[in-house]
Symmetry: C2
Subunit: 353 residues, 2 copies
């Protein structure tokens, strides 16, 4: 474990660049004094922001580049124009070179994933990377993946997602054996879904000491906290996340409208202001900021592009935790054990049939 956690930041990523990235890093540093930073981007802009944050400035190094990937670049464009020169690429490359332990960017997801994959390559035993994030539930947080890195996938892919998600949950929530569920639909299937049923068999057969497989979870089970880790291929995972976010926003709007409609409700709001503040904090999407790219030879964290400094700080926190509690080692340990376990799969399958 490194003495310091070294965090590479794409200072030009996101809708606001250094004016959010730098103060965000400063907030996170306040929570993690043993962090240090590499800031990639327009040095004039970065230094201007750093001037207001002397504690951060003391533990940061600025590496200048003129090239920034735009929020609208397609992955192929971003790679063509930004490879080896953009702030995004350089932050990722710092991880590859061992100069940083994790890269954090609020830049566009497609470009970041393409560059991360191209630069870091996937782990042995992993074909395709995933994006994972925490999801607030009534029981505490859960890890949900894949949120859109890869569309579709067979049973082996879903199993790899389970292994990686379990490692992330054990790191984030300090659980020895997190529970893992497969996202599925409750309706009796007329056709399809074989890969999910097959994945369930694989996961049951693993009898992993690192996680407990609890079977299928429906869409409304995520918010109930039905499992510490919810596994889905990337299309449905993304749809679930966005549908939930959309519903939360919709209800906030209803609530706001309802509380300002009559003088009685306005008075009620004044009395219950603290309760509403607590509710707002609980529903704060900033706190779930920080999608972790899993399955690569290095850790990359993606922040929402439109986030505030507070929100970006949460993404930096996530990156910090992944390094401090050794996510990559945990994933690799399970994958290596699995490489052995796969040989004895027939026996394992007999055990559950």
């Amino acid at each position: 474990m490194p003495v310091k956690v070294r965090i590479a930041l794409d200072a030009m990523g996101g809708d606001f660049g250094p004016s959010v990235i730098v103060p965000g890093a400063a907030i996170s540093l306040g929570r993690h004094p043993d962090a240090e930073f590499l800031l990639f981007g327009d040095s004039a802009l970065i230094e201007k922001e750093l001037a207001a944050h002397p504690a951060l400035k003391k533990v940061s190094r600025v590496i200048h580049t003129d090239v920034a990937v735009s929020m609208h670049d397609k992955p192929s464009q971003a790679l063509r124009r930004g490879r080896k020169v953009s702030s995004m690429w350089l932050a990722i490359e710092a991880v590859k070179k061992g100069e940083a332990d994790v890269a954090v960017s609020a830049g566009n997801t497609g470009a970041l994933m393409a560059m991360a994959r191209f630069c870091l390559r996937t782990l042995p035993g992993i074909d395709r990377p995933a994006i994972a994030a925490t999801w607030p539930t009534v029981r505490g947080d859960s890890v949900v993946l894949d949120l859109g890195a890869t569309i579709g996938g067979d049973a082996a892919h879903l199993k790899a997602l389970a292994v990686m998600g379990a490692a992330m949950a054990s790191v984030l929530f300090d659980l020895e054996r997190p529970t893992v569920g497969l996202l599925n639909i409750g309706v009796e299937e007329i056709k399809g879904g074989e890969e999910i049923r097959e994945a369930a068999e694989l996961l049951r057969a693993m009898q992993s000491p690192r996680f407990e497989f609890v079977g299928f979870v429906e869409g409304d089970g995520i918010g109930k906290g039905a499992a510490d880790v919810i596994v889905s291929e990337g299309f449905s995972g993304n749809i679930a996340l966005k549908a939930a976010e959309g519903t939360a926003r919709q209800i906030s709007e209803y609530l706001k409208a309802a509380m300002s409609r009559t003088w009685r409700s306005k008075i009620g709001y004044l009395f219950a202001r603290d309760a509403f503040k607590a509710l707002k904090d609980k529903m704060d999407p900033n706190k779930s900021n920080g999608g972790v790219f899993l399955g690569l030879n290095g850790i990359v964290v993606k922040s929402h592009g439109g986030t505030s400094a507070d929100g970006f700080a949460y993404a930096v926190d996530v990156g910090y935790d992944m390094v401090r509690y050794d996510l990559l080692t945990k994933i690799n340990q399970t994958l290596n054990r699995e490489a052995g376990a796969l040989v004895s799969t027939p026996t394992a399958q007999e055990a559950v049939s």
Copy 2:
């Protein structure tokens, strides 16, 4: 258009059978005095409930059967045991025989879909049926389909869903040319999703006078009311619906807890009670009850199994509207027009390329 709307009810369906189905029908009859009912199931139980609802009794006929499909029967079991004899089957068969215009059941979805499909068969031009329902949005309601009848599907399937969903939206919301969007993910795709892109091209090329195709909609666009009709294959559609329902329930719990935590918030709640009631009404899942099976030679409506009489009444309302405003004819008109349009597809595609 029939003078009366004749509604066949599976009186034994759902968690509570006739004790919810009969009062539910009575509530709906109050809103639609030109409805009449066929009630299939245990005649002793049904008659007992009818005694309390003389207006309903006057326009109902009870057809006795001892056999009821259980909420836990698999579709194959239900067909084997319940074909030709169960209350569920007989309600559907009444539609086939022309004795009823629509069948409504709160029985289990898989069994109901299997029986409906077996008994009514799919419409010409439709390979696989779908389940559609309304989804409350900040702009009013939208129709979302497929909610889980069919997993996966190619571009032609998605196009058929669009045609059927548009017909349903035009009937339910009285729109001449509802907008239609395809559910998709925003993240730049690394692999997959071809069928959705292809479906977008097909829908654009149609230039249908019956709906306006507005492109892709992300998961959080549903609640924003980004389109009157949201089209998805059944797996993701089901996940989206359940994730949204789960989030709504989760926030209700938070809100309830927040409002009862301190004396200040309790006083606030008392003042704002009407506002909270309005909010609760707005979020009432009962009002979205009633999934419509589309793509069959007849209309079947599925109610939630655990619903109340109020909730079941909404499902009956949906069935009533579908008949009164001639859903099947509208779907068939578009499909027939399409059968012609398909011949000239090359020209249509040139028009947009």
